[in-house]
């Protein structure tokens, strides 16, 4: 019989299950994701750095792991909490099981737990730190948990960004002439962003988040894309400073963390949402035409609209809770979205925003 394991939350609640993946302890902020598809993309999404992810859909791993659905080069979550882990996946692309993939990456999982109970807890009490362990008592686990630094005070972006700039190789037939040259500031980017930009005929270069504004401008980009990424935007002053120097020089699109950073660049404050938005079903209203878009989301922070200034305005809001989902500059070719136009996982309804960005870029050429 499989080894028992527990998930202990910072408020002392304990959820029992069985260990899978690597047998190790994992601490992190526990968050839930309501997407019913795309666990491989979720696992490899750098925005989940520092977090233990709980998919609310109970059956995870059904189609195994394949070579096409990676969003980064490794598992990014700290731990994975599922109702049921599929050890007999079946899909023509599958090259292995979820369990094997977590073992390869040294990441622990826990299965058999009441994930809905956890979700309800997080929804009502807010996200909190938690620990997965298979060899500690709940008391020992709590002691361990108290030693871990808080999620909001850690700079996870620096941990996940690329060490050196690199160019994304377009797939055959994707190169357009003359291509737009886009620099993606890697705060924790997903490959899908690079794939899709290439798909739109761009030459894409990803650069470390620590790159200076001058270094970026030296690459002579036609446009700059600020990528999504993990953690608290308030600990990223160095990136905010970099971007401030780029404003007005190049068209800029921000996605998720990139959006929060842009908000801060224009003086806005950000705040932490109680339990975040993580899933593939969030309705967003485009304030310009009233249309509703179903979006993929993964964020725990949001821009405080009352603190916006310097020509930045709210362009999109979340239909569920009214929070800011998009910003645009009244004059400059700058806009951002809190959600994920690259989807992956999630609906592909918003890829048109890449085209919109490229129109801006081409318009500025």
């Amino acid at each position: 019989m499989t080894k028992k394991a527990i998930l202990v939350l910072a408020d002392g609640s304990v959820y029992e299950g069985y260990a899978f993946g690597t047998e190790a302890d994992a601490c992190g902020e526990v968050v839930f994701n309501t997407s019913m598809f795309g666990y491989q993309e979720t696992l490899t999404d750098p925005s989940y750095a520092g977090q233990i992810v709980v998919p609310t859909y109970p059956l995870i791993g059904n189609y195994g792991i394949n070579e096409q659905d990676f969003e980064s080069d490794k598992v990014q979550v700290r731990g994975f909490v599922v109702r049921e882990e599929c050890y007999q996946p079946n899909h023509y692309l599958s090259t292995g099981t979820l369990h094997e993939y977590l073992v390869e990456n040294g990441i622990p999982g826990i299965s058999g737990v009441d994930t809905r109970a956890i979700t309800r807890k997080l929804r009502s009490a807010g996200v909190m730190m938690g620990i997965i362990t298979s060899d500690k008592t709940p008391q020992q686990a709590m002691e361990q948990l108290l030693k871990v630094p808080g999620y909001g005070s850690t700079d996870f972006v620096k941990q996940v960004t690329t060490n050196a700039p690199y160019q994304w190789e377009p797939e055959p037939g994707q190169a357009a002439s003359p291509p737009c040259k886009i620099v993606v500031l890697d705060c924790g980017l997903k490959y899908s962003i690079l794939r899709m930009m290439c798909g739109h005929g761009c030459r894409v270069t990803a650069v470390p988040c620590t790159m200076t504004a001058d270094e970026i401008l030296n690459l002579k980009p036609d446009g700059i894309l600020l990528s999504p990424g993990p953690g608290n935007p308030e600990v990223l002053d160095y990136i905010v400073d970099t971007i401030k120097k780029l404003v007005g020089k190049k068209p800029i699109m921000g996605i998720c963390m990139g959006h929060l950073i842009l908000g801060r660049v224009f003086g806005a404050k950000t705040f932490k949402l109680k339990f975040g938005h993580r899933g593939g079903n969030h309705p967003v209203r485009d304030l310009s035409d009233g249309r509703i878009h179903i979006t993929a989301q993964n964020h725990g922070y949001a821009v405080d609209p009352d603190t916006l200034k310097d020509g930045l305005e709210v362009s999109h809001i979340n239909l569920n809770d009214g929070t800011v989902e998009g910003l645009r500059h009244k004059e400059l070719p700058i806009f951002s979205i809190q959600y994920h136009s690259e989807a992956s996982p999630g609906p592909l309804d918003n890829t048109y925003l890449f085209e919109k960005f490229l129109e801006m870029v081409r318009g500025g050429k």
Binding site: T56, Y57, P58, L59, Y92, V113, N281, I294
Partner: protein
């Protein structure tokens, strides 16, 4: 944007037939409620009285009239609606909308088709237009061609190559569709398909059999906002109609990329079609590549959308109706969360499994192979947090006693040869797969063979593995918990671990292994929802805290099947509403996703659960909270035989019942006890006895005299009931009956071939109210569910009525009926020697201490809300206090006729003759001021009305010939051409009528009887059966041909007589007016 209409016509789907069941009552009811919320007047027309949507208080103006162009045009003329909602009445509604447009009615009265433009309906229904549209927007379609003749079909097939799928245009449930692997099969399938299509058009299509079949439910509003409500994966791959497939939602084996690819395609298609409302799109997906095809689009709410609504909590029909009158998705609140809007996509944190309910338990001779033509009459859904458990709960919900996944047919030959198993698609395939896995065939082998995705097969293997552990390992708390999490019932665990079911339950309680109840909330717990919609699972946290205050549980009726139809859902819903009206919280338990009862806002709380003892007791325990709290009472009278069968186990486990006691129920159902009971009251019943051996049977039959009525003592819809005319037939019947069931006796009664009369009554212990008496057109011997019933009993004499009323009251009081009861009587004609005015011979055939299938009909006709009155009686409010008194309620000045509707064209191999075993799937009502007009309407609505001019074939059994002659004369007198088989022709000729003799010997030249049916020479058949109904006899072939060609076929002379009279008396002068207008004075 659509201008908001002020008055909207909603077309219902008519009678329940295979392919069109209760889901459209659910859709129509939701639409009516939505209209009311939007301030739009709703005018509803439907011919089916057993629906909630035709209740006063649901739609604003209700017509129960035949769904014909002529009738609906008259309604439109009278009501002048400015909009038409064609998308809620299934294929019937859609087709009628197109017909109304074609007839110029919509233009004439300046009506707009709301939601889905008529042009879109045409595009989605016309294969060629549809294909072209998909090609235009770059969506892949299988290679195909539309043809209108057999010759053309053969030619096209040579280009496309075999195998091919045949799909007729404009049919429901894929009627007439088929697969052709050989040229012979192509010939047959194309013939059937062309005949099935009202426009004689079929599509021949490249076969993608074995590909995954995936469905999407999409919504779009007038501002072009689009969302997907749900996707679903058919476990049975392409080749099996989705209505006959086991389906899981959401899809289980698709990657995010595959899902998004199909989702994106779906949005593209709904936009191209311009549908404003709901749309169902079916795809075939290659399991080994990214290739997919668009297979079908339904630009309307459907069976799948009802399933998706129940699976997600997203009310598709309601939202679609609001969109149709101009609302945007972001303006429609999500009722479930109350905080968010309908513009989102539901997130599930469970999965659902749907299993079709096929009628082969009743039609043992039916062809059990399933394919592109739907055969299921209904379906069940189960919700859980793992596949194995959802599947096993769904199987429990099918209510086949003793058929858990452990069941195997005794006749199956087993071994390790994969070909020994029944693995082609059929209703028992799931069990055959389990049997194969138990005997060591691998999941991989079986998946290769059946093309069922290995993922599902591995899950079945998990179940088999658990069976083995339960068989071999000691039952520990850990093992028991794991088995429960995989959905094993206490009974299954008991069987495997050698315990009694009750012992397993006790162990569970001792070890604190109890189900918890989780909420269906559309959002995977992301938002705090107030939905009262729950399912059970074995997990940590329970969300269903016991409801506070007075409450009662209404036990629903499970899947729609022959003998237990939508009528019982109607009753359950009304009981729930009556509880609420009386200040009680109503708790509904049911397993059928199609219905109004499983709408989350019908009751204060809904448990979507199997209707068996384990499930009910768990729910009752959950609702009592603490073990020492008094349990809530249950109502078992409204859920048909399903609910009434639970009376005894609930009573035994100390759970209280509302209404008639378990004792009264047992008394009525136990043949021997009931006989004594009637003797004591001095009320006659046909002589008979219960027997357990062939010898005993012969002795009893000898004593009472043939013909005799034989049936098992356990009865549902007259299952396996037969009229036996001689000893030979009796021996055959008895041998079979004993083989099937050795535990229960077989009942033998004298068959009294008299006039059958049916009564529904409400008792409160002191008074017995009889809202009305219904007289059957067919004599006793035809199952009451298959008979046409006439209200009020217009041919009954005063003394007969008095006797019936007297017997009913006495039985009601003696049984201490609290609530509803149904009694069937037979009235024997007096021999001529008896002077007029003497005591009539009225016999009691059967008493059912529960609501019957005529309750909705009678409620509508009399205006007495019978279920409400009965429920209030159960809660202690006497009939007197409710303003009613003992005796027969005054007759209404109207005539209403309930006529049965059959789905025989879809059930190959099933004999269609009317007999004591019920065969109809639905019913219609004809209502008017005269018998002739009501009859004409009933026949029209049931599709039995003969053409004014035509030809008819007679093949009459010898013993019926004298009686048939006047009917034949009648046909001749109105100008019908007569055709007849050998013996019958001789008789007609002898009577001096012109007749053409047609051979029934199929092997002896042409044209024979089958030819003249198939080539359309005759448009009606009257055929009575000989006693020994061995299929493949000539009569059977005649009846099957008629069914498949959709030629009216009368197997009862009574029905034939009624049909010819309706034709002769012309009655084009029937009324078209709202239901309440027919009733002169309203009841108190």
């Amino acid at each position: 944007m659509t201008k908001k209409p002020s008055k909207v016509l909603i077309i219902g789907s008519g009678p329940i037939v295979i392919g069109q069941a209760a889901e459209f009552d659910y859709a129509g009811t939701q639409a009516c409620k939505a209209m009311r919320e939007e301030g739009v007047t709703s005018v509803l027309v439907n011919s089916n009285p057993a629906t909630i949507m035709t209740d006063e208080g649901i739609a604003d103006i209700i017509y129960i009239e035949p769904l014909t162009v002529e009738m609906v045009a008259r309604i439109i003329e009278r009501e002048r609606p400015d909009g038409l909602l064609p998308t809620l009445g299934g294929q019937t509604g859609l087709n009628l909308a197109v017909d109304l447009a074609d007839a110029g009615v919509l233009d004439k009265y300046n009506m707009k088709s709301l939601g889905t433009p008529i042009q879109t309906i045409r595009m989605a229904e016309d294969r060629e237009l549809f294909k072209q549209m998909l090609i235009n927007i770059g969506e892949p379609v299988p290679k195909s061609a539309t043809v209108t003749s057999l010759k053309e079909a053969a030619k096209v097939a040579k280009d496309l190559g075999l195998p091919l799928i045949i799909r007729p245009a404009y049919t429901l449930g894929g009627t007439g569709g088929g697969v052709a692997n050989t040229w012979e099969e192509l010939d047959h399938a194309a013939t059937v398909g062309l005949a099935a299509s009202p426009i004689h058009q079929i599509l021949l299509e490249e076969s993608v059999i074995g590909w995954k079949e995936i469905e999407y439910e999409i919504m779009r509003d007038g501002a072009d906002n689009c969302i997907t409500v749900c996707n679903m994966e058919n476990i049975d791959p392409m080749g099996v109609h989705t209505g006959d497939s086991i389906v899981v939602a959401p899809s289980q084996t698709l990657t995010n990329k595959e899902h998004q690819m199909l989702r994106t395609a779906s949005l593209k298609i709904i936009r191209a079609l311009g549908v404003e409302g709901g749309c169902n799109i079916q795809f075939a997906l290659d399991p080994n590549s990214n290739d997919y095809y668009v297979i079908e689009v339904n630009p309307r709410v459907s069976r799948s959308s009802a399933l998706a609504s129940k699976a997600t909590g997203y009310p598709i029909a309601r939202v679609a109706a609001k969109i149709a009158v101009g609302k945007r998705l972001d303006e429609i609140p999500n009722q479930i969360t109350g905080k968010t809007m309908a513009a989102f996509e539901p997130a599930l944190d469970y999965l659902v499994v749907k299993i079709p309910r096929w009628p082969f338990d009743k039609f043992a001779s039916g062809d059990r192979v399933i394919g592109t033509q739907m055969k299921a009459t209904g379906e069940v859904m189960a919700i859980d947090r793992c596949f194995e458990a959802a599947l096993q709960k769904a199987i429990r919900s099918l209510e086949f006693s003793n058929r858990s996944l452990l069941w195997e047919d005794r006749t199956w030959e087993m071994g390790t040869d994969i070909n020994a198993y029944l693995l082609e698609p059929n209703d028992l395939r799931l069990w055959a797969l389990m049997a194969a896995l138990r005997r060591g065939l691998t999941a991989q082998e079986l998946s290769n063979h059946t093309k069922i995705d290995l993922w599902f097969m591995d899950k079945l293997q998990n179940i088999v593995n658990m069976e083995k552990r339960l068989l071999s390992k000691p039952l520990t708390p850990e093992l028991l918990r794991r088995a429960k999490r995989l959905g094993f019932s206490d009974e299954q665990i008991g069987t495997l671990a050698d315990r009694l079911t009750e012992q397993v339950r006790e162990l569970r309680h001792k070890w604190q292994i109890r189900p918890v109840y989780k909420m269906v909330d559309t959002c995977a717990a992301e938002f705090d929802a107030g939905t009262p919609y729950f399912y059970s699972t074995y997990d940590q946290e329970n969300e269903a805290e016991p409801l506070e205050g007075n409450k009662a549980i209404v036990i629903g009726s499970g899947p729609i099947r022959i003998g237990q139809g939508i009528e019982f859902d109607y009753c359950s819903v009304h009981s729930s509403w009556a509880l609420q009206e009386s200040g009680f919280k109503s708790i509904m338990v049911n397993s059928n996703p199609e219905t109004v009862s499983t709408d989350f806002d019908t009751s204060d709380r809904l448990y979507f659960e199997p209707l068996d003892e384990e499930s009910l007791r768990d729910i009752l325990e959950n609702e009592s909270g603490q073990p020492d709290n008094a349990p809530s009472p249950s109502i078992v009278q409204f859920g048909g035989q399903t609910a009434i069968n639970l009376a005894e186990p609930l009573f035994r486990s100390g759970m209280p019942l509302l209404g008639s006691s378990a004792e009264a129920i047992d008394l009525a159902e136990d043949r021997r006890r009931f006989e004594n009971f009637l003797n004591e009251l001095g009320i006659p019943q046909p002589p008979g006895a219960g027997v357990t051996s062939v010898d005993e049977a012969l002795k009893v039959a000898q004593l009472i005299g043939y013909p005799v009525l034989v049936r098992p003592s356990y009865v549902l819809g007259g299952r396996a009931m037969e009229i036996v005319h001689n000893a030979g037939e009796l021996v055959r019947y008895m041998k079979l009956a004993i083989e099937l069931d050795t535990k229960h006796p077989v009942l033998i009664d004298k068959y009294l071939q008299g006039k059958e009369v049916e009564v529904d009554a409400i008792g409160d212990g002191e008074s017995v109210l009889i809202p009305g008496i219904m007289e059957h057109i067919e004599r006793a011997g035809v199952h009451s569910g298959d008979s046409m019933a006439v209200y009020p009993g217009i041919n009954l004499t005063e003394p007969e009525v008095e006797t019936i009323v007297d017997y009913t009251i006495r039985m009601g009081l003696a049984l201490k009926i609290k609530g509803l009861m149904n009694i069937q009587f037979v009235i024997m004609p007096h021999p001529e020697s008896v002077p007029p005015g003497s005591e009539p011979s009225v016999y009691v055939l059967e008493v059912n201490p529960r609501a019957s299938r005529t309750v909705p009909f009678l409620s509508k006709v009399t205006g007495i809300p019978m279920v409400k009155v009965a429920t209030k009686v159960m809660l202690g409010k006497s009939l007197k206090e409710q303003g009613y008194h003992t005796g027969l309620w005054p007759k209404q000045e109207l005539v209403a006729i309930k006529a049965p509707v059959f789905s025989m064209s879809k059930l190959l191999g099933v004999d269609t003759y009317l007999g004591p075993e019920m065969k109809s799937t639905g019913e219609v009502m004809g209502i008017d001021y005269t018998f002739d007009a009501a009859l004409a309407k009933a026949l029209l609505a049931a599709g039995l009305m003969l053409l004014p001019q035509g030809a008819i074939l007679f093949s009459i059994a010898d013993r019926d010939k004298p009686e048939a002659l006047p009917i034949i004369r009648r046909f001749a007198s109105i100008g019908y051409k007569l055709y007849a088989t050998e013996g019958t022709a001789a008789m007609i000729e002898a009577a001096g009528l012109p007749v053409k003799m047609i051979s029934k010997k199929l092997s002896e030249g042409h044209p024979n009887v089958i030819d003249i049916i198939n080539d359309g020479t005759v448009n009606g058949v009257v055929n009575t059966v000989t006693g020994d109904r061995v299929p493949l006899r000539d009569g059977f072939q005649i009846r099957r041909s008629a069914a498949e060609r959709r030629v009216s076929c009368f197997t009862s002379l009574d029905t034939a007589r009624a049909a010819v009279e309706a034709l002769a008396n012309g009655s084009q002068i029937y009324s078209a007016q709202p239901l309440p207008d027919y009733r002169g004075k309203e009841p108190a």
